[in-house]
Subunit: 144 residues, 2 copies
DNA sequence: TTGCGTGCAAAGGTTTTGCATGGCA
DNA sequence: TGCCATGCAAAACCTTTGCACGCAA
């Protein structure tokens, strides 16, 4: 069960930490290192992400339509444990909302429904303010 | 833009209504009809589901690890518009929670954060009461 | 008859697996 | 040296697309 410290492993973890504020995809990681002249095989990226997820160092999300998973560094105790994610179905932006009220949700759900919410895995879907103001006219930005 | 009423379309809709309480995958639908001696091409299943989603008759979810999407019949006005979904990461069960408190969430998020939640698309992840009581011993049931 | 619906086969994209090589300890 | 890690290629997986035929109206 020994674990070696490799250059790739370190690079990937560094990348995750540096981008702790956003959700990144496996593809983004692969491309980043390719563009920076230090390509990492996609197999390696996937396997390291899996390992980081298993070790609870990184969280895995499935955003929206299930096309490609998203990963995010989870600084235990100080990262995304304490806030919720909102994903706008229109523009695709992801918002990190840190708000005390949201904690009441967890409390209520736990007391009344016996369910312990893992806020770091939960994503709210809906419409952000900007897109709502734009009305129905906004064109989908995403390709598909 | 005329729409024909076909046997397959009807069968799929019937299936969705009959299973309105659970999230079904395209694969489940395909298999169901295959096993019942009335196979429907997967292309047809996907296309009809797409259409039903576009018509707001069926909701599309992306559960957990993004492997295969889930669909559920959405009885307009009386279905999943008014409650939230909780998915237990341990046993994989999906719970439909109808609770007034949950409506306050939408209200708060809208007023304070300008975000309109689509509760029918939002899934909370966490641990259900049963699995929590079982402690850490529970084996994962899902294959992968 | 018209043209939408169906379904096979093939393509598409993401993720996983097999296997030989490379690199840490 | 012993093993784990890497990465190429190929497979697996779910979903979509192309195209010819079938069927509802």
């Amino acid at each position: 069960m020994a674990e070696y410290k490799t250059k790739q492993r370190e690079m990937i973890l560094d990348y995750m930490i540096k981008n702790k504020d956003i959700h990144v995809t496996a593809d983004m990681i692969i491309n980043y290192f390719k563009l920076h002249g230090t390509p990492i095989g996609k197999t390696t990226v996937y396997r390291n992400l899996d390992k980081l997820v298993a070790d609870n160092v990184v969280r895995k999300f499935t955003i929206d339509d299930g096309v490609s998973a998203c990963y995010q560094y989870a600084a235990d105790g100080s990262g995304c444990m304490e806030h919720y994610h909102f994903k706008c179905s229109e523009c695709g932006n992801l918002f990190h909302v840190h708000c005390d009220f949201m904690n009441e949700i967890s409390e209520h759900v736990y007391k009344e429904h016996g369910f312990v919410i893992d806020s770091s895995k939960t994503v709210f879907y809906g419409l952000c303010e900007e897109c709502r103001n734009k009305g129905k006219r906004g064109e989908k930005i995403k390709a598909r």
